[in-house]
Symmetry: C2
Subunit: 165 residues, 2 copies
DNA sequence: ATAGAATCTAGAGCTAACTCTAGGTCAAGC
DNA sequence: GCTTGACCTAGAGTTAGCTCTAGATTCTAT
């Protein structure tokens, strides 16, 4: 079974332009061509494409993905290098996810901040009296709610479906 | 207390160039200037900067951060808009983190793939006999280990510190 | 008073990752 | 046989987000 660039693009939800760009950058050395010079992807090629897409999603620059693919084409002598490459990017991804978790926490506290302001009708309830500066105690209050077991994701939600009878 | 652009840059680990760029893009309308036209950041400005940095980390484009800051400057009439904005980006961030978790899972399975290949000395142990195509059963084997309670993060780790006595 | 450092603006330059255009080749259906 | 659409390459264009340069202040420390 073999596939045209259009079929692969369709299947992976990537544009053919992008696939050709990847090829130009050396990411697709494993792809065959037919007599007319057109790319023919094999079933096994999807294993490589899966790795490429994974590394892209992990935030690895195209050039570095290229060096990884080079290692793959070289053979068993590069197994350790490939392992190390993946380990490195696993660690980076873990870091990134930890940072994003902090970002999410912050977003949720701010949502709660606006939820409570909305309920009061004004942001001023969060200001130090007589100023337009946020009272640090407001954040502390939120932290306390979380420490006391509240779900940070739910705390900021406006109860819209509360109208019942 | 007020701070120069250099001091703020230092404190936030951002370059002054970037801060000026943000200002140019309308992200810092709240920053005062002294008689000489130099920016003077107030303590309260760090609340805004914290939000800007959070949104950036969440992947929100600079232009959209600008519209959020505009809402902030407008006053209580925009509280609902600000809430909705944060809700939207909370949802997007949750999606992204779910995708990154899948990416991380994939990276870990590939690490295990290379760990076992390294231990065998060749990648061929994962190929269908007589081919250089990966045997789909290999991935299934990994999935089974995980289903049986193994830690996916630990499974791919080479036990380097095993030399003891 | 003055040298050196920090700041200002406007605008040019840079990089990554596409995205598209132009001009040509090739395969399938009428 | 001919048209239509997918494909090819080379290379130009685009966008976001910085990053830097030039030339002119302004502040700080001796």
């Amino acid at each position: 079974m073999s596939y045209s660039i259009g079929q692969v693009a369709e299947k992976l939800s990537i544009s053919p332009y992008t696939l050709r760009y990847y090829d130009k950058e050396g990411l697709l050395p494993f792809v065959d061509r037919n007599q007319a010079g057109r790319r023919r992807f094999k079933d096994n090629d999807f294993n490589f494409l899966e790795v490429i897409i994974c590394l892209k999603e992990a935030g690895v620059p195209v050039k570095q993905i290229g060096t990884f693919i080079d290692l793959c084409m070289t053979g068993d002598t590069t197994l350790q290098d490939r392992y190390d490459f993946l380990s490195e990017h696993e660690a980076k991804l873990e870091d990134k996810m930890a940072r994003l978790q902090h970002t999410l926490d912050f977003l949720r506290w701010k949502k709660w901040y606006y939820k409570t302001a909305l309920q009061a009708g004004t942001e001023q309830i969060h200001y130090l009296p007589g100023t337009n500066h946020v009272d640090p105690a407001v954040h502390a209050e939120f932290d306390k709610l979380v420490a006391d077991g509240a779900d940070p994701k739910a705390l900021g939600n406006l109860a819209e479906g509360r109208a019942k009878a």
